[in-house]
């Protein structure tokens, strides 16, 4: 990490935040830093404490678990961090989650009564996030003037970093010319595509149907609509969770006033 100092000094707050920024609320596909779930970061030599509060406390213990585990793994991936301690607050299952995450238990060990597999839930949500991110990446390419045929034919080795970190050059398949597009939506898409084990080889088609297949030019418009739909689904769920959180906060305030 560029923000990292040498190995024998404490990790920087910026480095930790940068790592936590990669953790998403799996149901909304937005960074937990951006969503302001992080209450505080404590640095004590090589030990780092992270305090979290989720608005989705009512939505699912499995999602809370994923975020806590991901926060732990991201922070501990910094060479300067020896150990992390994740503390989730105000969640109906905070005791099970805090214990499980900090003692390295599996979801099934932490929740012996739970039905279903957290890995399968995560994989399904990653798939939805990938499809939603693909929509933004393709919008950027359409804005740059590429057409359906050119977009479905792209592979990862048609992308080339430019001198500016904000843009990426995209070569059309015969490499006769390149267009420059903003890097952010492309990079964001690629990260999720890699996580879902798509686009692992340089020559793999860059974009896929929600089922993971290459896209043919005739079905491009429909696949792109499905990307938009996946975005609407994620943000609708965000609306429900936000609403539930606000309602709960109002009630907590009222009962505190009594």
């Amino acid at each position: 990490m560029s923000t990292q100092t040498s190995d024998d000094t404490a990790p920087t707050r910026a480095a930790i935040r940068d790592r936590l920024d990669r953790v998403t609320d799996p149901e909304l596909d937005r960074s937990i830093v951006e969503l302001e779930y992080i209450d505080r970061i404590d640095i004590d030599g090589e030990r780092v404490g992270v305090d979290l509060t989720l608005p989705t406390a009512l939505c699912s213990p499995a999602f809370a678990w994923m975020m806590a585990i991901d926060a732990r793994d991201e922070v501990e991936s910094l060479p300067a961090v020896e150990e992390s301690r994740i503390t989730l607050h105000d969640h109906m299952h905070e005791a099970e989650i805090n214990r499980g995450v900090n003692e390295g238990l599996s979801f099934a060990e932490a929740f012996p009564d739970a039905d279903g597999d957290v890995a399968a839930v995560r994989a399904e949500l990653d798939e939805k996030a990938r499809v939603a991110r693909q929509y933004d990446a393709i919008e950027a390419l359409l804005d740059a003037g590429l057409d359906a045929g050119a977009i479905v034919a792209l592979s990862r080795d048609d992308l080339e970093m430019t001198d500016s970190t904000d843009t990426v050059a995209v070569y059309v398949p015969d490499r006769s010319f390149a267009v420059t597009v903003p890097n952010a939506p492309i990079e964001r898409y690629l990260r999720k595509a890699r996580e879902t084990a798509l686009v692992s080889e340089p020559a793999d088609p860059l974009f896929r149907t929600p089922e993971g297949d290459p896209i043919d030019a005739e079905s491009f418009a429909l696949v792109h609509r499905r990307g938009r739909l996946a975005q609407v689904n994620l943000s609708s769920q965000g609306g429900i969770c936000d609403g539930l959180r606000e309602a709960r906060e109002r009630r907590t305030e009222e009962s505190a006033d009594d």
Binding site: L58, S60, L229, A230, V232, S236, G239, G243, R251
Partner: protein, 364 residues
């Protein structure tokens, strides 16, 4: 004006034109403490209450006691008192592992449905885990109440089981029985997780196989699959006997209008205006304010341009009543005539509301 007060007109008229409103999703439940036998019952009603307060205007929110048990009289007044709805369709939710007498059973709903048979449609249910006994119960519901539909709760707990799927072999046996008995409307709750029920049992994917295997039945996916709106729309786009029930999505109109516009645009784009169906989910939300919010909602300019769909008078008439009337063989004109002087119109002085198809001279 040819209806009562201005306030009333606003409730059931839209731009001077009558819209016949069938609330496709109502309950008469009992969540009193005496009826709760498992902690899941208390968690369940508390979770319902969170949904209620989240999407209900503050001045219209109920307190927890009235929410637990509101009773038949109040229900009639909430639905019909200001003519917000013209008819209601009961969707039972048994939850007999949580509630001693059940939460909202066909038998409980029958109290009102048999008192006002012209105003209510009474649906039944089945649970394939009940096997032979379950099939007998379905036939009993058919014989006793001539149910035209069933409401299914695939995430319901039963003993050690935390749910079931509509594409199981056992489920198909029940769907075959429905087909034989002429029970054509299959309503499946596929929506937000309700604590403590397990999320995955509300997965919407099982609708696909069931709908293509039973083309004579109609599958109404309640809550349009949220948080799986994407899976739901994709399935519905391919299966033309799959419909979307708006409960949960509808109250977005009140405090998240941009989101409502976006969800409605997606639904109209993927399903078309003939397969989207209004439901309040009463008593989670109350049609006495919700119907107006949904009628007055608008799609944003941006969404109308992007999706090429309209939330106009014709679409509203379909979504608020005509679509579900077609599914349940309800003749709206015949109902309008019958409601001119039925007991409910007399009780709430609604005669003028049903007086005539054509606007006539002012009469108040």
């Amino acid at each position: 004006m040819w209806c009562g007060t201005d306030k009333q007109c606003a409730m059931y008229q839209h731009n001077g034109e009558e819209i016949f409103v069938i609330d496709g999703h109502v309950h008469l439940w009992d969540a009193t403490e005496e009826n709760i036998k498992h902690e899941g019952g208390e968690e369940f009603i508390q979770c319902f209450y969170d949904y209620h307060t989240t999407f209900t205007p503050e001045e219209r929110q109920w307190d927890m006691d009235e929410y637990r048990e509101y009773g038949a009289d109040r229900m009639v007044e909430d639905l019909f008192g200001n003519a917000a709805a013209d008819m209601g369709i009961f969707q039972p939710t048994y939850l007999t592992d949580f509630y001693t007498e059940g939460f909202n059973t066909t038998e409980q709903n029958a109290e009102l449905a048999t008192e006002y048979p012209e105003r209510f449609v009474l649906n039944g249910t089945f649970d394939p885990r009940d096997g032979e006994e379950g099939l007998e119960y379905l036939e009993e519901l058919h014989e006793n109440y001539d149910i035209p539909g069933v409401k299914l709760y695939t995430a319901e707990w039963r003993g050690d089981s935390k749910g079931w799927r509509l594409d199981d072999e056992e489920s198909f046996e029940f769907l075959e029985t429905c087909q034989e008995l002429g029970i054509e409307n299959i309503h499946a709750h596929k929506g937000p997780t309700i604590r403590p029920l397990n999320r995955d049992a509300f997965d919407v994917a099982d609708i696909d196989d069931a709908a293509s295997s039973f083309p004579e039945l109609d599958f109404i996916v309640e809550h349009v699959g949220l948080p799986r709106l994407d899976d739901f729309c994709w399935i519905a786009a391919q299966e033309n006997n799959v419909y979307g029930g708006l409960a949960v999505a509808a109250p977005f109109a009140q405090n998240r209008p941009g989101k409502f516009s976006e969800i409605m645009s997606e639904l109209l784009w993927w399903l078309g205006e003939d397969r989207v169906i209004f439901g309040s989910d009463y008593a989670i939300w109350n049609p006495d304010w919700l119907v107006e919010e949904v009628m007055e909602a608008e799609l944003t300019q941006e969404h109308r341009a992007e999706y090429g769909v309209e939330w106009d008078l014709e679409t509203k008439k379909k979504v608020m009543g005509e679509n579900i009337a077609a599914l349940y063989d309800i003749d709206i004109e015949q109902k309008r005539q019958a409601f001119r002087d039925d007991e409910i119109s007399q009780q709430f002085d609604l005669g003028d509301h049903y007086a005539s198809e054509e606007p006539t001279a002012a009469d108040d």
